[in-house]
Chain length 341, copies 2
DNA sequence: TTGTACGCGTTATCAC
DNA sequence: GTGATAACGCGTACAA
């Protein structure tokens, strides 16, 4: 019952080989005769051998662990990103040690220490809490996703392009005034470029536009309250004009749509809405919402690949330190649904 | 730059203690004089020591790893469950090694092997793929969440009670005919009890009711198509009656609500809807949906606690094997919003 | 209170 | 092709 684990030693005795040969069977089987390979294979079955990767790691230093610190899994964006990151296991074979961020620097530092204690080979970070300057100092391969990334590698959505796509769609839909509603994003955060893109295109096209930048709350009810104010403000300020609303994300887009629906019982012709992310909520809204789709699968894959490259480099005899930071941009895709024309 | 890691040996030399004393500093500091504790503490800083938990595990066998196999993170229910499971780290200190299930037995078996190779101390399983009979044979502490659990411990929502709450609410809301719309859940799955609970209460109260059990599709569009058929069927079959719809989950409840909204521009008085799960979609729908809230945080916590108990037991000198399986039920909470009265 | 010696299960370095 | 033997970094009797 309480099988004490069988080790290379047991297999060696059972087969009259040495531990070394057993090890070779796993790491370099071709160096054994086919015959002997089969003998060992049979022994593994007879003894019901269970490999121990921890011992392996201690001996060769390759943990095959990647650490992840992600803010939460409440937002679909993060959940799906983690989903896609985890699924890169099939491709790269790395296992993931996951912590959800707390927003407290000290706690997240503790997490990082824990990750380092388990000898992670690299780290993917989505949490915003710890400055990239500090992260870089840990001297371990790191890739950031959609966060401040001044001193570390990163993979992000091409936020500027996304804003351009959304804004252009609203213009094509015949909107006469464009409003971008967002929180007051810091300039260093990648998504700040959405604001830039919106402004640039509006100015380029010479279209009337307005930026509404304020804290939009962190719960549905709060956001709804604030967005209701904004809705009334816009409605009153631009009467009779066709209004195009570029929302910061699909959650807000959905709230705005619900507000309008509860006001009019439908989406009137003089309102257009575009969201961001292509979350399920966008397609599951009372009317499917046009949105800018982040290619989460691609972002995750690129992040993993970028990280793997660095980790592989480290395993070489004479690793070349990275010359310069890599910041990859993944182009988003515009998804036209029923809130635009 | 490429600091070769400092070990207990280095610290020992630096402080003129032995490795053992250094080890004791970490595991039983009280056995050292305060003075010496401080000497070592300073040495750790001077040398920038980085603990190696893998070596520790190899030596004492306690990996502090829990393995998780979860179907996906696309559904909010799973994402939030993982979120809550991960957050038990603060309480119990166990780290999580996470795999997302594929639905393929062979692949998930491979995952389990990988987890075992990393010497996980226990496992939490949400994936449905591998029968509990087989899981039990791995002879490692296991807790299942909301899946077939005949041969293993589990923590589930009290699905029967949830159905009772939902059904009762519809009756109280004055509905004259009740319809439960669900997929054809196998009897061994915990959520089958929702169907039971619905039937029992309806019969007990002698109210007209109907069960619509069929595959509801796996995408929004497919589900919507099927639910539209069902909606039309119900509308035609029970004209003039106040209809109470008990949906299998909030996603379906939201789709049904959208169908009704697109038909009538509002939710007419002769339709009531209750969902299940308390997903964000329920509160973010065009009209906030009444639902049965699964207490995901509690389920996750109870699961972790149950697992920790078993793992602790194993660490005792003479571990007592578990006498009988534990199946915990967590009572759901009824959330009344605007789709019922 | 502190130290010695060995074990944990695997890989790496030499030999043969 | 195969085998000793020494790492890897830490825990733990057992001794002192």
């Amino acid at each position: 019952m309480n099988k004490k684990k069988v080790t290379f030693n047991d297999i060696a005795k059972y087969t009259n080989f040495s531990k070394t040969t057993i090890s070779r069977y796993f790491n370099n089987p071709d160096s054994l005769t086919l015959e002997n390979q089969e003998i060992i294979a049979q022994a593994l079955i007879d003894l019901d051998y269970q490999e121990n990767k921890l011992a392996k790691v201690l001996a060769n230093g390759k943990s095959e662990f990647i650490g992840i610190i992600i803010p939460n899994l409440y937002l679909h964006y993060y959940a799906e990103m983690l989903n896609q990151l985890l699924s890169t296991y099939e491709k790269f074979g790395y296992k993931f040690l996951v912590f959800t961020g707390t927003g407290h620097e000290e706690t997240e530092r503790k997490y990082i220490q824990e990750l380092l204690a388990y000898k992670i080979e690299g780290m993917i970070i989505l949490s915003h809490t710890i400055p990239s300057r500090e992260l870089a100092s840990y001297n371990i391969p790191i890739v950031a996703i959609e966060r401040e990334d001044q001193y570390i590698n990163s993979v992000n959505t091409d936020n500027y392009m996304g804003a351009v796509q959304a804004t252009s769609l609203l213009i094509k839909s015949g909107c006469q005034v464009l409003v971008h509603i967002n929180s007051d994003v810091p300039e260093k955060v990648p998504s700040y470029k959405r604001i830039l893109g919106f402004k640039d295109i509006c100015q380029e096209q010479g279209i009337l536009h307005e930026l509404v930048l304020r804290d939009l709350g962190s719960s549905y009810d709060k956001s709804r309250k604030i967005l209701l104010e904004i809705f009334n403000y816009i409605k009153d300020k631009y009467p009779g004009m066709k209004k195009g609303l570029f929302m910061a994300n699909d959650t807000h887009a959905n709230i705005m749509l619900n507000i309008i629906f509860n006001e009019y019982g439908t989406l009137p012709d003089d309102f257009c809405i575009v969201g961001f992310d292509d979350s399920p909520i966008a397609s599951e809204a009372v009317i499917p919402i046009s949105t800018v789709g982040q290619q989460i699968d691609k972002i995750a894959y690129e992040a993993a690949e970028l990280l793997v490259k660095q980790m592989d480099e480290r395993k070489k005899r004479r690793p070349e330190p990275q010359k310069e930071l890599v910041h990859k941009n993944i182009t988003p895709v515009l998804i036209r649904r029923q809130t635009t024309f």
